[in-house]
Every structure is written in structure tokens, then in C-alpha cells.
């Protein structure tokens, strides 16, 4: 980022600008606000346990202010942290409000210090870990592992990644499927016909067609609509075959059906 030309150097001296930039230019290099806070805390030159969180908050807010001045856009989480630190600062400075519950400023500050110390500790041990002797770099395994070949056997193997990717491959097929009707909400006429044939034998009297809706299909509107249509079509089919009679008192009145008397 060499955007120096773009800045108007009105308010700041060249040296001040350079100093601000030295920190800011590298925003990309920070791994998030906590990392930046950790870097800032080093300027206090004290043990992390003795760090002044208040001072740190001010440093951070100063940083954000400078970034704004230099027209560097900070990612949202940096601004979230700034807002929180401003809140923390006010909690630390103002006398505690007894009506307010939630953690005190000191508790929040202590946790932030803990987070910084923990992050620093993890960095330190990560470095220690990587500095260890490593297999294939500092020490080595057997170069000719498969020695005596008397019986050749083939085994097949796979690792977890293969397994998960295989599963993902199958399952993502669904996401790109062409539009199809989901069968579980659709009743076909054939299904209704099969059902009606069985039921109609018991119903000698006029019965409301809606009472033939199968269980589990009466409440969900989508399923109900499908079942009603299928039932109606099936009734027409049965009537056509002469198995049942149909009647309807008036338009939109309930449709009733019964077994054809002479049939049984």
C-alpha cells in the first residue's frame, strides 16, 4: 500500500504521518483486532499481566482515529472492537452505576488482559512447537519400509477426507436437482382409488366425500388439497364404473357418495 500521494498532508507533519503510517500501512498484516491489540500492548513495555487496559483502549482508539484520518478503511470487526473499547473505557472511568447489572469494567478489562496473555502464550508455544525437530526435516523414518516381500496382499484404504468428500459429493447433488414435485405432499388418483375401493364396501349410506380423506392428510393445506383432488377424481372413476353413486345438493355443497345399492 503506497498511497502516500493520496493523503492531504494538511494537518499532519511528514514525520507524524510516517509514524502513523508505519503502524497503519500494515493493517492487512494484522490477524484481527485482538492481534492488533497485542501489538499495541507491546509499546507499554510491561508484563502482559500488568498491562493498563485503559491505556491500551486509548491506543487502539487512537489507532482507529488515525486510520480514519488516513482514509484507510478498517474491517467491521476492528470497528466493533473500537466501539466496545470505548464502552469499556467509559465503564472504567465512570463510577459504577448500581442500577446497572452485568460485569463491571474491571471484570471486562481483566478478561481482555487474559485474552491477550493467552493469545501471546499460544503464539509462544506455537513458535516453540515449530522450532522442534521435525520428522522428515531433522529426523527421519525408515527409508525402505517394505522389506521382505513374501506374500503380496492388496488392501484398500481411504481416509476421512475421502469419506467426507464422497458424502458431500452425493449430498450436493440434491442442491442442484431440477424442480420436481415432492411426492410426500402429493396423492395420486391411483392411490386414492385403491383406498376408496376398500372403504366403499363398508359405506352403504350417503357419506361426505371429505370424510374419506386419509389420516395425516387432513390438516396440512397442501396435502389436503392434493388428497381432495385425488379422492374426487377417484370417485368420478368409481361412479363411471358403476360402483358408487354421487350427489351434491347445490353448487359448492358437500359432495356425498354411497355404494350403488344393487351392487352388493
Amino acid at each position: 500500500m503506497s498511497e502516500t500521494e493520496e493523503f492531504e498532508s494538511d494537518a499532519m507533519s511528514v514525520s507524524a504521518r510516517l509514524a502513523a503510517e508505519a503502524l497503519i500501512v500494515d493493517v492487512e498484516g494484522f490477524e484481527g483486532p485482538l492481534d492488533l491489540l497485542l501489538t499495541l500492548s507491546r509499546t507499554q513495555k510491561v508484563d502482559l499481566r500488568k498491562i493498563s487496559v485503559l491505556e491500551l483502549a486509548e491506543q487502539y482508539l487512537g489507532f482507529v482515529e488515525k486510520a480514519r484520518h488516513l482514509r484507510i478503511e478498517l474491517a467491521a470487526d476492528y470497528l466493533v472492537m473500537a466501539a466496545w473499547l470505548a464502552f469499556l473505557k467509559s465503564r472504567l472511568l465512570l463510577p459504577p452505576d448500581p442500577t446497572e447489572d452485568g460485569p463491571s469494567g474491571e471484570e471486562l478489562a481483566a478478561h481482555l488482559a487474559f485474552q491477550l496473555e493467552r493469545l501471546q502464550a499460544m503464539r509462544d508455544v506455537a513458535a516453540k512447537l515449530m522450532a522442534r525437530d521435525q520428522l522428515g526435516r531433522d529426523f527421519f523414518a525408515r527409508g525402505i519400509p517394505e522389506d521382505v516381500t513374501r506374500v503380496r496382499r492388496v488392501t484398500y484404504t481411504a481416509n476421512l477426507l475421502d469419506l467426507m468428500q464422497g458424502y458431500a459429493r452425493i449430498r450436493t447433488k440434491d442442491e442442484f436437482r431440477p424442480f420436481v414435485m415432492d411426492r410426500d405432499a402429493v396423492m395420486t388418483m391411483e392411490q386414492a382409488l385403491d383406498r376408496m375401493r376398500g372403504l366403499i364396501g363398508y359405506a352403504g349410506d350417503w357419506t361426505d366425500l371429505t370424510s374419506y380423506l386419509p389420516e395425516g392428510w387432513e390438516t396440512d393445506p397442501v396435502r389436503r388439497r392434493s388428497a381432495t383432488a385425488a379422492n374426487f377424481a377417484a370417485t368420478l372413476e368409481l361412479a363411471k364404473r358403476g360402483a358408487i353413486e354421487l350427489r351434491q345438493g347445490e353448487i359448492f355443497a358437500p359432495i356425498q357418495i354411497r355404494r350403488k345399492p344393487n351392487d352388493g
Binding site: 485482538l34 466496545w84 471486562l108 478478561h111 512447537l129 522442534r132 522428515g136 527421519f140 525408515r142
Partner: protein
Amino acid sequence: MTDDVTRDESVAQNHDDKRDNDSLFEAPPMGEQERMVEAILFASAEPVTVKELEGRMPHGSDAAEALVYLRKRYEGRGVSVVKVGDAWAIRTAPDLGYLMQKETVETRKLSRAAIETLAIIAYHQPVTRAEIEEIRGVSVSRGTIDQLIEMEWIRFGRRRMTPGRPVTFVVTSEFLDHFGLESARDLPGLKELRSAGLLESRPPPGAMPGPETEDEDESPEGQSELFED
């Protein structure tokens, strides 16, 4: 897998010798057992467990004892007998690494994020993704976990019994092997970290800003109200 077959075969052979009781069977002399362990460990590039060793050795063998002698025998030599988790391997002495340029395998350079994530998993295991993010203060980038799994340095542990049952990560024995660790307890600085309380999971008091996770359910709760203005 296959060693089961081998084991079964050797068991079958031993059946004849084994008359009434295991104790009646005579195991080979310890010197012989030591040779066997030596041969098996030399032949394998991967660490071999005591159980596997005994499965391949004649019935009644005591691989653990043979290992004690073997380990001693190789002290100060060009190769040494090392413990990896609950398994054993022979590895070249680290001080001779410089002779081995030809054998050096180019490992993929790990990013700083990957190294930190690995260290957090090693020291905090089993650890969830949300916890890793809490510690680092940023979200774990796509592919970081993937890369560590692919290198077989981490694997899935038990799911955490908390809402959402998030998966956890732990380090593998390949990880231990790679860094020459006998067990995860031997991680450098582990004791100090623990006594400093830096490995405790301390939930943030009330509203603390955390990384923005992609998975809503995993993100630390309670931060949104505070910053909504």
C-alpha cells in the same frame, strides 16, 4: 485390517504349543524378543504399538520389556528408539539431520494462522472451532482446518455435549510423530501454561466482542445488542 489376519495365523500356530495354560508356553529368550522388536521397528516407517508388536511376536512375548533393552541399546547411536503416543518407532538422531538433505521431504509451508490453530488445538484439545476463534480473535479461515486434517495432524474428537453439539478437534499420533513427542503431555511449555491458568476455558463476562463466525450457532452470543447503534 491385515495384521489381524497375521495375528490370527500366529495364534493358530501357537495353539499347538499352548497346552493347558498360557503360562506353560515358553516365550523365546528376551534377547530373541529384542531382535524381533528391532526387526519389526526397523521395517516399519510408522510407529508400531506394543499390542501390534506382541501380535506379531510368538505367544507369551513381552514386547514392552524387550523395548526397554532395545531403547537402551540404541542410546547415542545414529538411530534411536522413540515413543510416539502408545507406539514405538526408530528414527534417525536429530543431530544428524544435516546429512539427510536427500531424504528431506518438502512439507507444505504452513500459514501463521494454520500454525496458531494447530498449537491451539494441541494445547486446548479437545477444542471446538468457536473456541479456537475465541482465542485467536478472528474466524478460522476456510481451508485452515482442512489443511491440518489433510496433513493428518488433527482429527475430529467427540462432539461437545453443549447446545448444537459442535464437533471438536484433537491432534493425532501423526502429529506427535512429526514433532517427536511421546504424548500430548510433553508439549513444550504445557505445564507452565496450565499453572498460569491460560488453558482454562474462561467464558467472556457478558458482552465481549468476538470474531464474526459464519455459523450463527457457533458465534459467541450477546454481542449484537451492544453494537447495534
